[in-house]
Symmetry: C2
Subunit: 504 residues, 2 copies
């Protein structure tokens, strides 16, 4: 019989290594824990510190990077463990993640029942899945492999796994655009219009998944968006509306985990898209939601047929989980607005709110369509009367004033940053703009640095069907550094179909 | 116009961090490269050093872990870069991995044509895929989602991406067992029998994927298995046969990359299984192959129906790529042999080769079946005569002598290690052994430390249909440390169906 071994913990040491969101701990190969417990590189390990328990990937360290008695922590592990002075970490084999057997079942085309989906999402939220396991789950749900019931179960599971905001209002309005269209920053015009009309619209937005900017990224160039639920509540009580990042408040936190891996794969699954959208709305306490579905050959939704299918999926799931929803199909053949990238899109929004003559008219009109639909869904007015209400608050500057007030309430309004590097891409020959490839445009803007570099992206200088002459600028690249500009330019030059010119 | 920036590289520093096989480099957040090129944590980055170019995951380091002018390397990155004194590393954005768009197509149920499969496998082999992307590819091919033509294309692509051994013999024999059955170490008996009979049988084996031991793991407890192609050639010229690890010689190297992620997911896809098996055989220069398919409710192939389907897939693909193949269906309702785990299985093999009276008879008989089929496929003899040939070399000790000669030729024979911790799991009540769960047994052996811990695993002490009394030992756990033993024991106690006893 071996004598009981004393529990001697290791001292956490912050190594300053940023491993993105996956928690990593570093243990010496000769540590008694590695030897006695048989941990090997890339094992998952449960780390216990005070009351906190996290699952982390183990990297084994040879040599003198760590002193005996230390455990190294990546930035993500450090943030989760929040070590206090004197605390010592202990380690255990993590309990097997039983819900991965449901994922394997799903890969082999089995249906997931509600308790199974709950178990998966609960484990995902708790950080028990590795990135490789998350990728398998996401892939197994893509291409229509989730049934209607599975999507409803996924939506409910995602709401249950996080915080849920309760509002003392009977109608809590919301809007959401099912992405794929660069620019299209209607939220930042619709919210101040709706709030000016007395509607309650506490908008939580996401950051970019596979696009050059999410609404939260764009809004962040005007005001802070990382608000707590309490701070958000304060803004909404004061101004009737807000535009904040939903990720900061643990609404449907599984979504953020899944989105990170979807982003790495550049993949959106339809079922997860529906669950993602609706779970965020439910968790935010919304009751009435306008969903905007841009349709075009290079938008996320490529055909009217696909749009109708997605609409049924969204409306069916919304009904099953108790949300009032109206879906608008819109023109997605080209970007809405001129700018693509956080700061450039914010400039478009300000131009519309300020009623500047040069403001992008498509962005203005599309925002008014959505605001009108909100007024109707809230039963304030219908048809012409609804549109006149929305138009009047925009024209009279009330929406601008509301936006400024919202920015101040969120922590202070600021100017969007300007880029230091620009370059115009010009027409190689005269012709008519026959097609604009949203996806390639997005890639160009991303290569230029968006959304990470706030000022980066591009300004589209032509519209569909416009006639251009040889040498006329088609779009202007913006970057924060030389390397990114070259990279975006090289890609744009290799892909002439970004803006396709039909010869006269 | 910016002045041309001088190309100043960074000095590689070995941090001693074992990140498993994924190459990771560590750059200071304030390094000019991070700032000017816009690299962020978890970006993929191309690292250039001398003539070498690798793609690595970037971890960004804050603080003083690295000195200015240094780039940290994980063990995997260091092994790939092989820095020489004075060499300086430079960095670039890696070219976008275009073949990932084919993987996305596959996720959306598109067929992969041969050039697309070639592009994917070529990029996988070159290390351009992240683990998350590999997981998506593997998942998208699971559950029969690869067509016959796609499996053939995958097989050819996997052969083309690696080395191929050419032999000066018209018949190069081989055998392979489609796993799922613990123990079953027939290869190490069949190869010496076949080589004793003058057949050429250069056997390359794999390490465990999801099992407690692969043939290479088991053989390694008797002799070195990490041989170069040249060393393997020497062994085969001298002895007619060998049993080495295929992974060391870049035969179908994509398979090793895919297998690593399949192992992490505990997932085998049928199409990838066929391509994996046949590409290894083709690359090893084999011409005639016996495939052993154990069938049982808890084997990899669960029913005769599934076995026939897999047989068709294997034989059809083999025909398309020019391999002569014969498939044997065998009894997979329980393990073959007594030991499960590298060293324990090696002891079973030695007992059979030494004609010990207590040697596991099932392992002996099954090995003779396969050796007989090889003799027939090589057209040396048929039926009774073929079996008598195989039996005689085993009984006369020629096979044992051949095995010893092969081990010596591979670098020297050694004794399998013995475990330091054992524990017998006993029958909770009297009864008949009505079922043995291969999968649960494998998990128990893995939790005990196999295949990483060579001496770990278990000995099965009962057979199907045997009658046992209360307190009679059912299996004996072996572990190299206390922690692993406890972990395996706890799992075994929670799962009484590992060995299911029907009451009298």
């Amino acid at each position: 019989m071996e004598p009981e071994r004393p529990v001697t913990g290791l001292e956490p040491r912050r190594l300053g290594i940023d491993t993105h969101q996956e928690a990593v701990v570093y243990l010496r190969a000769d540590s008694p824990i590695c030897r006695s417990e048989g941990f090997a590189a890339h094992s998952r390990v449960e780390v216990r510190l005070g009351e906190r328990r996290i699952t982390a990937i183990l990297n084994v360290v040879h040599g003198e990077l760590l002193a005996p008695g230390e455990v190294g922590c990546s930035e993500a592990a450090w943030a989760l463990l929040q070590p206090k002075p004197g605390e010592r970490a202990t380690f255990a084999h993590p309990a097997p993640v039983d819900s991965m057997s449901y994922v394997r079942g799903k890969i082999y085309s089995q249906r997931l029942a509600e308790p199974q989906m709950d178990a998966i999402i609960s484990d995902v939220t708790a950080g028990r899945y590795t990135d490789v396991e998350l990728a398998a789950f996401i892939t197994s749900c893509a291409d229509g492999r989730l049934s209607h019931d599975e999507i409803t179960a996924l939506t409910r599971a995602m709401v249950n796994a996080g915080e849920r905001i309760a509002w003392p209002y009977t109608r809590v309005m919301d809007k959401h655009c099912v992405g794929g269209l660069p620019g299209n920053r209607t939220t930042m015009i619709v919210v101040p219009i709706a709030a000016s009309l007395g509607l309650v619209i506490p908008k939580t937005s996401s950051r970019a998944i596979t696009s050059p900017s999410g609404t939260a990224d764009t809004m962040e160039t005007l005001a802070p968006v990382d608000l707590s639920i309490e701070a958000l509540r304060g803004v909404v009580e004061k101004e009737g509306g807000c535009i904040v990042w939903g990720g900061a408040m643990h609404l449907s936190p599984a979504d953020d985990v899944l989105v990170r891996v979807e982003r790495a794969l550049d993949l959106d699954s339809e079922g997860q898209l529906v669950a993602s959208v609706l779970s965020k709305k439910l968790a935010a306490g919304s009751t009435h939601v306008i969903l905007d579905l841009p349709v075009g050959p290079t938008a996320k939704v490529r055909s009217e047929h696909a749009a109708r299918a997605l609409q049924r999926l969204l409306e069916g799931t919304a009904h099953a989980v108790g949300l009032k929803v109206r879906t608008l199909l819109s023109d997605g053949r080209q970007p809405v607005g001129r700018g693509i990238g956080p700061a450039l899109e914010a400039r478009d929004v300000l131009a519309v709110l300020r009623n500047e003559p040069g403001a992008p008219q498509d962005l203005r009109e599309h925002s008014l369509d959505i605001a009108t639909a909100l007024v109707e869904l809230a039963d304030i007015a219908q048809g012409e009367e609804a549109r006149a209400l929305a138009l009047s608050v925009l024209q009279e500057g009330l929406a601008l004033a509301k936006m400024e007030a919202i920015c101040e309430a969120q922590g202070g309004m600021r100017e969007p940053p300007a880029s230091v590097q620009t370059h115009e891409v010009v027409a190689a020959h005269a012709g008519r703009v026959a097609a604009i490839d949203n996806r390639l445009l997005s890639r160009v803007a991303k290569l230029a640095g968006a959304p990470h570099a706030k000022a980066a992206g591009l300004e589209l200088l032509v519209r569909l069907d416009e006639r251009v002459s040889r040498g006329q600028p088609l779009f202007r690249l913006h970057a924060e550094n030389h390397g990114d500009l070259d990279y975006a330019l090289e890609f744009a030059q290799r892909h002439s179909s970004v803006v396709y010119l039909e010869r006269h």
